[in-house]
Structure formats: structure tokens, C-alpha cells
């Protein structure tokens, strides 16, 4: 295959050029559009690097959901005049930052061009322990067994981010619905899209979680797709944003981490201790955790996109 290197070079160049565009763009809107394109190029690069799981996550979260948040923000900021003192940097600051950023780049480049030989890897160890868990996808094994405590803490990070965003509501609006995404007008095309796409997307999302134990896919990727479908339905005004003070919403948000923690604590009864799984039951337990997490991740990602409660959004 001689196309491969050319494709890699093209993707690397395109990603770098888009990054420069995003950073130097005078207008925020152009920068955001550039960033979304940058995310898509990167997910192709991840495919080329043989990381299908990461490519899925990058496309769904790094480019998709992040893009939704940024585009919504840039449209809202567009109407307002800039308030944060936007003083341009002086020539000296620029020179210093070019020098320091260039230094970091040069250091990194020197290191990637002179790799350790043989390159260290944990792949054999990760693969050797997989049969014990009964899952086929090593990434799922890492996220939910070997390094599960990272995943657990990261779920708490998501909850804290949500609470942090909710804390930006005005006191009078606390617990109310967030403002619906989009322009606020009904639109025929959008309604059609909102009716056709979510059923397909929901099937795709659930499929990605389901195969995640053995093939590329998992809770984050599936959850992000489900969240995107929900946002789409909200944009098309086929559903209202939820009243975030309701116990049902809180339950949906918390159930994933709570199930994860509960199964973790149950591990104290086993020789392996916290977050260990009984022999032979690892895979079913991992799937239970994944399903609960997917549900919560979908809800939390959606709510993170929606933002804090706003008063007067109830129809």
C-alpha cells in the first residue's frame, strides 16, 4: 500500500493547518467551525493509528458534542458585544510565547523522532489477563477492570462538572428547565430529521455499547451517540428539556456512578478487594456497569450541552 503514507501525511498536514487556523482566526465563529473540522480529521488520524475505540470517542465527543457546545456558545456570544477586556498582546509577549511554544514543540519532536527501542508496551500483559475477565476488547478490560478506579473517579469528575454548570443558574431559576438548544423556532426540516434520525441513532448507540465488551465500542461512545440523539430531538422541539430539579433526572444522572461504586464496594467481600469481580462473573458485572454508565453518561452529556437552568423556559 503506497497510498497509506500519503494519506497519513495529508491528514497530519491538514490537522496542523486547521489548528493554526483555529488559533489565529480573527473571528470566533470561523475558529469554532475550524475546530469541528479539526476534530473530524483527528478521528481519521486515530483510525490510521489503529485506535478504533478512540476514533469513535473523538468523533462523538471530541468533535461532535464539544462542537455542539461551542457552536451554541458562539451564536450566543455573537449577539453580545465583547465584555472581557480583549487587549491584544504586545510584541514582546508574542515573541516570548512563540519562543516557549516552539521550544516545547521542538523538544517533543526530538523525542518522537528518537523513540525508545524496543518501544515499551503493556499490550501483552493486558492481553494475557483478558481471558480471566472474559471480555474480548482490551480497552474495556482496562477501563473497567485493570484501571477501573480511574474510570470511577472520572465519572465523579463528570458529575462535578454538571453540578458546576448547574451552579451557574440564577437563584430564581434553580431546578427549572435549561433553555432549549438551537434557534428557538420550529422548523420542518429539523422536525423531520429529529423524527428519522433518533430511532436509528438509538439503535446504533445501544449496539456500540453492546458489542463494546468484545469489539470496539463502549459506554462513552454509545452514551455520546445517545446524547446527540436526545439533543437533536430537543433542537427539533420534539421534546422539552427536563426539569433538572426532579428526582427522576437526578436518578438518571447518578445511577451509573452509584452502581459502579456499589459493585466496587461489593468487591470487598472477595479476595481481590475493591472493584474486583468474582471468577466467572466478571463479564456480566462489567456489562451491568457499562449499561448503567451508558445511561448516565448519555443524560449527563446531554445536560452538559444544555447548560444551567433558565427561568421562563417552561412552556
Amino acid at each position: 500500500m503506497s497510498v497509506g503514507p500519503a494519506l497519513d501525511a495529508g491528514l497530519a498536514l491538514l490537522a496542523s493547518a486547521l489548528a493554526v487556523w483555529v488559533v489565529l482566526a480573527r473571528q470566533a465563529f470561523g475558529a469554532v467551525v475550524g475546530f469541528v473540522a479539526f476534530g473530524l480529521v483527528l478521528s481519521l488520524a486515530w483510525l490510521r493509528l489503529g485506535a478504533v475505540d478512540v476514533a469513535l470517542t473523538e468523533a462523538a465527543i471530541g468533535s461532535g458534542v464539544t462542537g455542539a457546545v461551542l457552536l451554541a456558545a458562539v451564536t450566543r456570544l455573537h449577539c453580545a458585544r465583547p465584555v472581557v477586556a480583549a487587549a491584544r498582546c504586545g510584541r514582546r509577549t508574542r515573541a516570548i510565547s512563540i519562543a516557549s511554544a516552539g521550544l516545547v514543540s521542538a523538544g517533543l519532536a526530538a523525542l518522537v523522532l528518537s523513540p525508545t527501542d524496543p518501544a515499551p508496551t503493556l499490550a501483552p500483559q493486558a492481553a494475557a489477563a483478558l481471558p480471566e475477565l472474559g471480555v474480548g476488547n482490551a480497552i474495556t478490560g482496562i477501563l473497567l477492570a485493570y484501571r477501573s478506579v480511574d474510570t470511577l473517579l472520572e465519572k465523579i469528575v463528570l458529575l462535578l462538572a454538571l453540578a458546576g454548570i448547574w451552579s451557574l443558574a440564577r437563584d430564581g431559576a434553580w431546578g427549572d428547565r435549561p433553555a432549549p438548544p438551537g434557534s428557538g423556532r420550529r422548523d420542518g426540516t429539523l422536525t423531520l430529521l429529529g423524527q428519522v434520525l433518533p430511532p436509528l441513532g438509538i439503535v446504533a448507540g445501544i449496539y456500540i455499547v453492546w458489542v463494546g465488551a468484545d469489539a470496539p465500542g463502549g459506554a462513552f461512545q454509545g452514551g455520546a451517540i445517545l446524547a446527540a440523539m436526545w439533543i437533536l430531538a430537543l433542537m427539533a422541539r420534539l421534546a422539552d428539556p427536563p426539569v433538572v430539579g426532579r428526582i427522576g433526572v437526578r436518578l438518571a444522572v447518578g445511577i451509573g456512578p452509584i452502581v459502579f461504586l456499589a459493585i466496587g464496594f461489593a468487591g470487598f467481600a472477595l479476595p481481590g478487594g475493591f472493584l474486583s469481580y468474582p471468577a466467572g462473573f466478571a463479564k456480566p458485572l462489567i456489562i451491568v456497569i457499562e449499561v448503567a454508565l451508558t445511561f448516565s453518561i448519555a443524560v449527563v452529556l446531554g445536560l452538559l450541552v444544555l447548560g444551567p437552568s433558565a427561568r421562563g423556559t417552561q412552556r
Binding site: 485493570y146 477501573s148 458546576g164 437563584d171 478487594g273
Partner: protein, 517 residues
């Protein structure tokens, strides 16, 4: 196994190792359940977690002290480098205890400002405050205990995400701007840290701190990784000249939140810097790095103190003093890593004394600063403002609070018999004994400047005036008592003997001891 590849250690779980999990998971579970229960539930959960967390810290510290051995817990039974180990040495024990004491005091104090009466509806600020308090606790304990550089990254993010909303809890434009700037600084800091983590994994195939210390070599990979990680961590610690975000953020949070941020949160990234250099890559510490870090610390002491002197508002003054006090911590790097020939002069373990002194400074500052911020909060509640120039008669109006504030200030100045005195004295003698007198000069000048800004508060507050102070709100005695108790803790630390602490010696990085020989 390939050469240069990290292999597993013969580690097993300590009998009470499960407590290390509880220290992290209890408050983490509190965060998840608080969102679910809402309303008063969050406060109740925090109040229920608090004694449990304090008990866990006490048992862990007691066990390490008695047995003289570190604790280990392999999560899920997986050995590093594939799995993650939680480890508690003497330093972790001290930090667990400090965190528990300060957070316990903040819990009791904050009941006054964020307590909901029975049957009241859920309100925004209280719910968020209690959730973030537990998030801070979980994140800090994870920083003290995690033995894996990537888990530590997640722990740092846990801290960031629970610290930032505390800053903008009042929702004013000024605090929102402070929170945004803090968030951006913290995010760049974490991403630089993560960049170094990637390089280390690429070079050595493990992120476990102990395994890494066995295989790491003084070569470009390690050096570039260490520089990036240190730069990131210093931005999070607000060491001069990366301190710009700190004063508005720490001054903008509600008093209980300021206490958490100033006393504890900035220490998380500091301890991580210490572990990185002293534990993971001690062989790199001699390339002038320790002197550079010390010099930045010295600049922070002088710069922060002078700016603290110029502040018109009490909370900003305390925040600038935090910048100065963080500076002292960085004297640890040159003083605790002195080469053998410099330390054997007087036949004593001067590196060990500097190590204990630096950590004492950390603990003393944590307790003293938390007490001072909470005292400032009470003053602001009572007066409705915190303008230092209008403090006339405050000493008579709020004697207990002012006493607590003063005791905290003594520790900052380094007056005996405070914890700050012991800490600064140990750093001072270590500097003299090791022939690095220039740090001693900065320590003394910093103490004088601290005396200066404390005097600026006390001069009007204790002045004999006829006008009786007009108080807006009567501050309950119980809250003043909590603040005073914390300040007394900072004082009691002054009873420590001036030698390496037995607890801190447990699992003290081999580098510090080996260098002394």
C-alpha cells in the same frame, strides 16, 4: 520481559489497606448521592462523611506511625504496571490528617452559612457548596494516595472541577471572571502534566511512581517530561510567576470555600511536584532544578508579601499572603536534596530536618490560613465589608475571631510558639548548616513582611476608639469557636521538636536519605 521494561513488584495488600480506598470512595460516593438526594440531603451526607473521613485518616496515620511501615492497596487485585496501587507513606498520612482536620472545621463552620433549615426547599448555593466540598476531599485524598501518574491526573482534575465552582458561587461578574481565569490556568496546567505523563509512558512503559523510580534514567525523555509536568503543576500551585489567577479566585469564594482552596487545594499539586522529583526522578534533581525552584519560591515570598502589604481588602490580603507562604514550601527542593558533603558537616540529617520543616510549613499554613480565611468571613458577615481601613474597634466587637486571626498570623510570621515558627526555624537551620545562607535571608525578610501586613490589620482593629462598632449581624459563638480551635491547632504544631518527624520519616523518599548517607 524486555529490557528496560518495568516488572511487577512483590506487593500485597496491607491488612487495613482497604481504608485507603474508603478515604477516596466515601466522599466520592457522597458527591454522587448528594446530587440524588438534593436539598438538605447533601448537607447531611457531608456531615455524615466528615466523622468517617476523620476516623479513616486517624486510623491510617496511627497505623503508619506505630508500625513504621507504609500501607499499600492494589485496586481490584491488579498489580502495577497494569493495575493501580494506592500507597500511603508518612507524607500521605500527614496530608490525610491535615485534610481531615481542615475539612472537618470547614464543615462545622459552613453549617452557619450553607445550612438549610428542616423542610426548606433545595437552594443553589448550599447544594453546590456541599457537593464541591466532598469533591475537594475525594480529589485531595486521591492525590495523597494514588501511586500512578495518570490516576493522579484524574485526581487533579477532580480537584479542579470541585474548586472552580466554589470560586463563582456568588455569581457576580468579578468572581465569574476569576473562576474562568482559574479554570483556564488549571486546565493548561493539567494538560502539560498529562503531556509529561505520555512521554514517561512512552519512555518507560509504566506510570507507577515506584516502578518508574526503578527504571528512570537521567536522559532527555525524563528531563523534558519532568519540565513539562513541573511547569503544569506550578501553574496549579500558583508559584510565582504563575500566580496571577490566585488572588481574585481565593478572595472571591465564600469564606469556607476560600479556606479549602488556600489551605488545601493548592497543596495537592505541590505534593505531586515533590513526589515527582524526590520519588520518581531524584537523579534529575541536581541539574540546577532544585536551586531554580527555590529561587522561584524566594521570589514568591518577597513579591507576595509586598503585594499583601498593599491590599485594601482583608480577603485579598490573605490571598496574597498565600502566594508568599507557598513560596516557602519550595525551599524544600534545595534544602532537602543537599549533597552528602554539605550535610555531613555537623553530623546531622539536615536533609531530613529540611524535609520535616517544609512539610511542617505546609501543615501549619493549611491550618492557620483556613482559620484566617474563616475569621475574615465572620468579620465580613459582621461588618458587611472587609475594608481594612474601617476596622477600628473590631478587636472589641469580635474578640474571639480576632484572637483566632492573630494566632493564624503568628504562624505566618513565624513567631514562637507557633507551627510556622517550628517550620521556618527548621528550614532556617538547615539552610545555614548546608551553607545555603541565601534562603535563610529570604525566610527572615518574609517573616518581617508578614509581620508588616498583620500589623496593618491589627493596628486599627485594636486601637482604642470611642465609637462602638456597628455590627450588621451577630456572629454565633459556635462558629467563632470552630475558627479559634483551628487556629489553636496551628499553635499546637509549635510543640513539635526540632528534629525529623518520626511519622514523616516513614517511606521518606530514598533519595533524601541516600544522599545523606
Amino acid at each position: 520481559m524486555l529490557t528496560g521494561q518495568a516488572s511487577t513488584l512483590p506487593e500485597t495488600n496491607s491488612p487495613i489497606g482497604f481504608l485507603l480506598v474508603l478515604a477516596i470512595a466515601l466522599p466520592a460516593g457522597g458527591v454522587a448521592l448528594s446530587l440524588l438526594l438534593g436539598g438538605r440531603g447533601a448537607q447531611r451526607l457531608a456531615m455524615a462523611t466528615m466523622p468517617l473521613g476523620v476516623a479513616v485518616a486517624l486510623v491510617v496515620a496511627g497505623n503508619i506511625w506505630r508500625s513504621g511501615r507504609s500501607l499499600t492497596y492494589l485496586v481490584g487485585g491488579w498489580h502495577p504496571p497494569l493495575g493501580i496501587a494506592l500507597r500511603a507513606d508518612g507524607l500521605s498520612a500527614v496530608m490525610l490528617l491535615t485534610t481531615a482536620v481542615v475539612i472537618g472545621a470547614v464543615c462545622l463552620y459552613a453549617r452557619g452559612s450553607f445550612g438549610l433549615p428542616a423542610g426548606a426547599d433545595e437552594r443553589r448555593a448550599p447544594l453546590v457548596f456541599w457537593i464541591m466540598l466532598m469533591g475537594v476531599w475525594s480529589g485531595l485524598n486521591a492525590v495523597w494516595l494514588a501511586g500512578d501518574l495518570f490516576s493522579l491526573y484524574v485526581a487533579l482534575e477532580l480537584l479542579t472541577f470541585s474548586a472552580v465552582p466554589l470560586v463563582s458561587l456568588d455569581g457576580s461578574a468579578a468572581t465569574l471572571e476569576a473562576a474562568l481565569r482559574y479554570l483556564l490556568f488549571a486546565l493548561i496546567g493539567s494538560v502539560l502534566y498529562l503531556l509529561g505523563t505520555a512521554l514517561l509512558y512512552g519512555g518507560y512503559g509504566t506510570l507507577d511512581l515506584v516502578l518508574l523510580s526503578h527504571v528512570i534514567k537521567p536522559e532527555p525523555t525524563a528531563f523534558i517530561a519532568a519540565s513539562l509536568m513541573t511547569a503544569g503543576l506550578l501553574a496549579k500551585t500558583a508559584l510565582f510567576p504563575l500566580h496571577l489567577w490566585l488572588p481574585p479566585a481565593h478572595a472571591g469564594a465564600p469564606a469556607g470555600g476560600s479556606a479549602l482552596l488556600s489551605a488545601l487545594v493548592v497543596k495537592g499539586s505541590f505534593i505531586l511536584t515533590v513526589r515527582l522529583w524526590f520519588e520518581a526522578m531524584p537523579s534529575l534533581l541536581h541539574l540546577g532544578t532544585s536551586q531554580l525552584l527555590g529561587a522561584l519560591g524566594a521570589a514568591a515570598v518577597l513579591f507576595g508579601s509586598v503585594l499583601a502589604l498593599r491590599q485594601a481588602r482583608l480577603k485579598l490580603m490573605i490571598a496574597y499572603s498565600t502566594i508568599a507562604q507557598i513560596g516557602y514550601l519550595f525551599f524544600l527542593f534545595p534544602l532537602a536534596s543537599a549533597p552528602a558533603e554539605a550535610t555531613s558537616m555537623f553530623g546531622d540529617d539536615w536533609n531530613g530536618i529540611a524535609w520535616t520543616g517544609g512539610m511542617m510549613q505546609l501543615v501549619a499554613h493549611a491550618t492557620a490560613k483556613a482559620a484566617m480565611f474563616m475569621a475574615a468571613g465572620l468579620i465580613a458577615e459582621a461588618l458587611g465589608h472587609d475594608r481594612i481601613a474601617e476596622f477600628a474597634g473590631l478587636g472589641r466587637a469580635l474578640p474571639v475571631t480576632m484572637l483566632a486571626f492573630g494566632l493564624g498570623g503568628m504562624s505566618l510570621m513565624g513567631l514562637p510558639p507557633s507551627g510556622g515558627f517550628v517550620a521556618k526555624a527548621m528550614l532556617l537551620v538547615a539552610a545555614m548548616a548546608e551553607g545555603q545562607w541565601w534562603w535563610a535571608v529570604v525566610i527572615l525578610v518574609g517573616g518581617l513582611l508578614a509581620a508588616g501586613y498583620m500589623f496593618r490589620v491589627f493596628a486599627p482593629a485594636l486601637a482604642a476608639v470611642d465609637v462602638t462598632m456597628r455590627r450588621r449581624v451577630v456572629v454565633p459563638q459556635s462558629r467563632q469557636a470552630v475558627v479559634l480551635a483551628l487556629a489553636i491547632c496551628a499553635m499546637l504544631l509549635g510543640l513539635m521538636p526540632l528534629r525529623p518527624s518520626q511519622l514523616l520519616e516513614v517511606g521518606r523518599p530514598a533519595s533524601v536519605t541516600a544522599l545523606t548517607r
